[in-house]
Symmetry: C2
Subunit: 269 residues, 2 copies
Amino acid sequence: VSEREILDWLRKTVGNGIGDDCAVYIPRKGEDLLFTNDQSIEGVHFAPGLAPGAVGERAVARAISDIAAMGGEPRFCLLSLAMPKAKGMAWAKRFFRGALKARVPLVGGDLAHGDKIHIDVVVCGAVPHGRALRRDGAKIGDLLYVSGALGKAWDRKRIEPRLAFGKLLRGRATSCIDVSDGLSLDLRRVCEASGVSAEVDHVPIARGSTLERALHGGEDYELLFTMPSRFKPPQGSFRIGRIVPRIGSGVMYQGLELPARGYDHFGQS
Amino acid sequence: VSEREILDWLRKTVGNGIGDDCAVYIPRKGEDLLFTNDQSIEGVHFAPGLAPGAVGERAVARAISDIAAMGGEPRFCLLSLAMPKAKGMAWAKRFFRGALKARVPLVGGDLAHGDKIHIDVVVCGAVPHGRALRRDGAKIGDLLYVSGALGKAWDRKRIEPRLAFGKLLRGRATSCIDVSDGLSLDLRRVCEASGVSAEVDHVPIARGSTLERALHGGEDYELLFTMPSRFKPPQGSFRIGRIVPRIGSGVMYQGLELPARGYDHFGQS
């Protein structure tokens, strides 16, 4: 397989103008653009045996979830792929078919060979000007919600980015983040950015999962958000606690400090 | 070293709002945006022993060169980095200092551990609406130029993206590409996209280099462009040939077909 063969196939499949040194995007009037990138590395983010279609689908879905967390809708993506030469064209086709499932136009990327499969996906999304959901706006007295049950990662379900849900939060949620590294770590990030603390009373646990996984597991890709009590949260929301003045490390669970045990790439665990 | 330590240091160093799920960019009126990404993989794109500052600087410069080739100016970048845990904070700091040398605001990215250093840089650039330089506009009769001598890669000079030069080509060049994979391969890309052929008479060879390297070497990061003869090319341009009707594989050198021997990541060589 040659780089050129893969690119020729991609051009035909995607049906757009991949080919210049850069992709060109003409911004629409009144939109702010959102950018996120996420790596997916064989042996780090996914098991070596995972089917190529699933690798591609997950790699793109993880980045789209960040767009959902900002209340955006995806506009286009770029994808870098390094893979062993031995994987060949069949692997590449199945991988890209998975990556294209999300129907976010693929406008560019970079191919290289490498010892292991290594993907980096950039997704660009858009929100009406000034309406992006941030991490730093949680206010004392706000209620704390998640968009669904947590702890799902254990059975490696498909990632379904909460795009429609995120759009419903525009103008109402004071902060939002997607639960990708574990509730305990992601909630701490919101509290630190907002200069507040959170008291969590209870969390909805996915069927067959455990409290431990729901609190620290990560890869849930549900939205964690805060909202003043005068607003009704979208259907399907679970209230898990409230925002309080800054104390200690930021996150309390049933009266005790909740350590952040979510995933840190360079941590000891 | 923890992911958090690196991020905290970066936030302080970069002095902007890295921290949300996405970076937010508010497009300026009348600008088209350009996007490019480039991987830099240890053992593929650079030797394992290369100094961390040079790794960072080169990784970003390669992507900026794509912006130059479209006539753009860089607006911001995102950077994904995977590195072995053992490299530690000192390596990361030196790497990012190198990456920041180009003074393109770093607004986001992704950190992970991995067996080898693997970087993916996305640069967003901008051009006035409709003014991006493309590969597909070369016309029969246009003259063919490069922005400087070729074959430099052999001694691993610093990459200096031709940003100012690229801007001077707006509205005058009918096509443009940066010579990153070798003149023979990159010129073929222009000819294929434009449906024409090119006759190359002679090429300027960098001091101490060879004709072979100048024709096929790659990593020159000079601009290769076509322009109608009525325009005067920017100072420092070398005329290397002309555009002719489509024949054979697209590129002729001194009357003979020039095989594309530039770099293909999945090729046999």
